[in-house]
């Protein structure tokens, strides 16, 4: 493996006037001011391509990750928060509907909405992405209108 970072210069003038509060408030911004990440990324990309175990996909991913890592380090965090919020807004609704419909369809097997077996069945049916919810609702429970009343394709794109 080749490469090195000895020639990379830290711009110490950028540190003038920096306070601990500045660093705490925006560590990535402070680092960006101190160091020109461009050359570093280029070297890292070169190093990554020399890793013998890397598949083509892994190499492409590493390249893309490094290329964008410095530009918007906050993005994954916001995306994660958004994703969790989206899931927690819709998944319980789907599960609850499936629970109600299953119980209505087969009250002898599931005597009440509090039935433990019903809850397990719902978990089994609903755990997964929107495509699975669509299949359960439309194909297994016969809510045919749910197929066209919801933009499943757009929702699936979030996952």
């Amino acid at each position: 493996m080749t490469g090195g970072f000895d020639d990379l210069v830290i711009d110490e003038s950028a540190a003038d006037g920096l306070t601990a509060a500045d660093v705490m408030a925006d560590p990535f911004g402070v680092m960006s001011k101190l160091v020109d990440f461009g050359p570093i990324v280029e070297k890292l990309v070169a190093l990554a391509s020399e890793v013998p175990a890397a598949t083509t996909y892994e190499a492409a991913y590493a390249f893309s990750y490094l290329r964008f890592r410095g530009s918007a380090p906050w993005a994954p965090i916001v995306l994660r928060a958004l994703f969790v919020t989206a899931i927690s807004s819709i998944e319980p609704v789907v599960s609850r509907f499936v629970q109600i419909l299953l119980q209505a369809r087969d009250p002898s097997s599931f005597p009440s909405l509090a039935d433990e077996a019903l809850e397990q069945e719902v978990r089994k049916l609903c755990f997964g992405p929107p495509a699975k919810w669509r299949k359960v609702l439309v194909e297994e429970l016969g809510i045919v209108k749910a197929a066209t009343a919801v933009d499943w394709k757009a929702l699936e794109a979030l996952w």
Partner: protein, 181 residues
């Protein structure tokens, strides 16, 4: 994508056309779109399930959503408007309801100005057998503004469209922004 640092993977790239390896940068508008998409899905699912448990309730609920839909169009919440229009379309019980739902759906897809987004579908729409206001809507959706203004004037003279409707219907919003009505 989350586990890949927010980078667009192959699956997302295929479904959205976004270049693979691009980082998705969440903007305020994007976050609202996601919230509206999820909200729209909740609404659609609720109507569909309710209609199953209480047959006929779906059409009633979808028609009641019309006022909200107009508000969403006017406030440029396109994803939510599209979701409501999709529910309207799914539960439309007659030609008029379906045509109204489709007009709303196309308005949401145009996002105010992008007439090309729906041109092929609107051009293929046969509005000739429907009340004349739908032919007017078709002209507006296709950007045939001069013809639309003339048509609107005729319909107003004939009492088929009122001033109130011109002020309130979202189909006229683009023309209103351009001071054409």
């Amino acid at each position: 994508m989350l586990h890949k640092g927010g980078l667009v993977d192959k699956r997302h790239s295929v479904s959205t056309g976004t270049e693979r390896g691009t980082m998705v940068l969440p903007t305020a508008e994007g976050v609202r779109e996601v919230a509206d998409l999820v909200g729209g899905m909740r609404y659609g699912l609720t109507v569909a399930v309710w209609d199953r448990l209480m047959p006929g309730a779906g059409s009633f609920m979808a028609s009641q959503g019309g006022t909200l839909l107009a508000d969403f169009l006017r406030s440029e919440r396109w994803a939510m408007a599209a979701a409501f229009a999709q529910v309207e379309t799914a539960f439309a019980e007659d030609e008029i309801s379906l045509a109204t739902a489709n007009v709303n759906r196309w308005l949401a897809a145009q996002r105010g100005e992008d007439l090309e987004a729906t041109r092929a579908e609107v051009e293929a729409w046969d509005a000739s057998r429907l009340p004349s206001r739908f032919s007017l809507a078709k002209k507006i959706l296709l950007g045939q503004d001069e013809a639309a203004i003339t048509h609107l004037s005729d319909l107003r003279s004939a009492g088929e469209i009122t001033d109130f409707e011109v002020d309130e219907w979202p189909i006229f919003d683009r023309l209103r922004r351009q001071d054409l009505v």
